[in-house]
Amino acid sequence: MQTPKTYGSPTHALKRRAFLGGVGGLLAGGMAGLDALGGPLVAGEVKRRHKRVILLWMAGGLSQFESWDPKPGRQTGGPFQAIETSVPGYRMSELMPKMAARIHKTAVIRSFSSPNTNHTGPGVNALMSGDRKDTGNVRTPSLGCLLARELSQPGSVLPDHVSLWDATWPFSGGDKQLDFALFLGGRYEAINISSKLSPDGILRPALLSDADHRAREALREQLAGRFQANRSTNEAVASHGSSYHQVRGIMDNAGLFDISKEPQEIRERYGHSLFGQQALVARRLVEAGVPFVRVTDGWWDSHGENFEIHASKVPTLDRVMSALLEDLEQRDLLRDTLVVTFAEMGRTPKINAQRGRDHWGACWSVTLTGCGIRPGVIHGSTNEDGTAVATDRVTAAEFFATIFRALGIDHQKEYLAADGRPIRLTPYDTEPVRAVLA
């Protein structure tokens, strides 16, 4: 068996996804999984103590006009109508009838605003760190990695951060554009699962006996323990150890990724799209205790044929999101699970010559449902044409602070950057959007 070259300099990050691609065979693996925890309804008091987040990421930028903030009849509005919702006075795109019927359980922020209008580079890096200006040249970790750390459970054998993608990220830099743990350590980096439902290499090779498998793991632990003995403060070494630990956890819980264990009725509710199936995997993961799961739906970057793209994709989003929320609610998981919709950006009010909408950061919509959120709040507004925030502008820092507070995390909590400098989760003067907090 060829082992991956994951060693070398201390700073050679030992990423778990590399292990998942090639080292899985080193480790022993049972198939206990979710079902061994007592079935899906095991989500009782023990699990309820732990907060979790599912981020529904609209890669490329969902149009707010064709979803949460329609402007029918305006020159910027496009062809779709707005429909009544379960919140009196609030209308959504006709493309989202299922969410419209249950929007009284969700908070919608229509006045999110960010300088970012890019898919990659410093702009989106900044957005994912909360568009903060208080850290100078020090880069700070992304939202997903921060939440993975804050919500992680000591001793958990499950990964802290899983990222499911129904399409490949088409730009250089891959997932690192959106998620970066930086000095938090490799433990909080995402395990990326792209265009499928489970990571590669989580099953023990058939030719390797369980006894040999366990013997190899014991040997690795013995060697690693000796190596770590004098390097207790080295982040890379610590990441290495925790990564092996969690790979073992994933292997022992490989069944989490197997949605065939779900009743057919549940699977039908999520639909047959890969996005839907991955959302179901996400529910299984958070139910088992994974603190942060991103489910990415691509590709919304509708520079051409915006309305055709949204006519095709929004109904799927509507189905999947409503199914996920309903499923979480029925399992009594929604009170401890925060479901967020977010993206790099929104889309321009102006409809271009290709019937498209381009990149737009000035005012677009995000949603929060579940843990710590006051349901049915429609916060902020845009003007008649959707060209500017009309009321209650919300910045990325404020949005992130709201997420932290909803989860019971002090958004002013300090942690240490690589150079020992204390940095707060959000800038010192940031206030959460209290209107949407329960």
């Binding site: 029918p72 051409g304 044929e305």
Partner: protein, 331 residues
């Protein structure tokens, strides 16, 4: 019918208006056009005037006006608001409004005898209507509700009625073409035009699709125009594609790539040429229906959504983003 010199084709008049003209129909023996707009209004333009202008004439729809037809002195319109409206042009009043479909209506077609209207919608039906009374005659089905292999809703972009009025054709987002008998509603033929099947892997969408259909003058052939399978839908780019099928056998007899995404098409009554106009960047093309070749191409100058041709095919009109254009072949 004398044939014009294609090399002489040029724009003779232009009318500008912000937004998109999405559909057009011409009153017989005149230069008066009715145009459906993205602002939900129907405009009138009389190109016989020295300085023609777009005049908002009819208001009643609530969304894009995606198709227009004429039945005598009555204008018929369809819209993304799901409605089919008959308008008395003499009095400029609504004669009848019908909640025609459960989802957006993309196009309509009127048969030559002006007795039947066909409408297509993303509810995946093609409905036939009595053109005079407005009563529903038949609902034609056969398309899948979702694009096979994907979970996306299916769509119908185009329809056409054969010159003798006996057959109705429509094509969906999965590149399926169905031809029905208008009288019985029976499915007469079905074939796949796979070159237009554009949805690609995992959540990515392609602009490829069949945008418009036209029967040959003898009704035996069916021309498909749109965009071939190429790349994703971030931008509309790549070649437009015209294919001609013997619709009864499903055999493809013709293929020509040119210009951009063709959204409107006209088959000359003497089969002198097929005119296709692109929405995406690319030229207006006159194609030889006898063999695959471009007879003439000229810059379309606007993303074109629809076109209308006069009785003798010596003048035509293209409409689209921000403009309506009159084209002629001056001697």
């Amino acid at each position: 019918m004398p044939l014009p010199d294609l090399d002489k084709v040029k724009i003779s008049k232009t009318v500008a208006l912000p937004g998109d003209f999405l559909s057009v129909v011409r009153e017989p023996n005149s230069e008066r056009l009715w145009l459906g707009h993205s602002d939900a209004k129907i405009y009138a333009i009389d190109f016989a005037e020295e300085k023609p202008a777009a005049v908002a004439a009819l208001e009643g729809h609530k969304s894009y006006v995606s198709g227009l037809g004429l039945v005598g002195n009555t204008l018929v319109s369809v819209s993304w608001d799901r409605k089919l409206i008959w308008w008395d042009l003499a009095n400029r009043r609504v004669v009848r409004t019908v909640d025609a479909h459960d989802r957006w209506i993309r196009r309509l077609a009127v048969n030559r005898s002006q007795t039947m209207i066909a409408t297509i919608s993303d509810d995946m039906t093609c409905k036939l209507w009595d053109a005079t009374s407005g009563k529903p005659m038949r609902t034609l089905t056969g398309f899948e509700a979702k694009v096979p292999k994907y979970d996306n809703p299916n769509k119908i972009f185009s329809c056409a009625i054969s010159p003798d009025g006996r057959h109705v054709a429509a094509a969906d987002d999965a590149a399926q073409v169905i031809v029905w008998e208008a009288e019985s509603g029976r499915e007469a033929a079905r074939f796949e035009a796979a070159s237009y099947l554009g949805i690609s892997q995992g959540g990515y969408l392609s602009a490829a699709r069949i945008c418009c259909l036209a029967f040959s003058p003898d009704g035996k052939l069916l021309a498909l125009a749109g965009k071939e399978r190429d790349g994703e839908l971030f931008l509309i780019k790549g070649a437009g594609l015209v294919q001609i099928f013997d619709w009864q056998t499903g055999q493809k007899s013709y293929e020509q790539k040119a210009g951009g995404q063709f959204e409107s098409m006209y088959w000359h009554p003497q089969s002198a040429w097929i005119l296709v106009a692109p929405f995406a960047s690319g030229p207006l093309c006159f194609l030889d229906p006898a063999k695959p070749r471009v007879l003439k191409e000229t810059p379309a100058t606007i993303p074109t959504c629809d076109l209308a041709v006069n009785e003798t095919a010596v003048a035509f009109y293209t409409v689209g983003s921000g403009k309506a254009l009159k084209w002629e072949f001056p001697a």
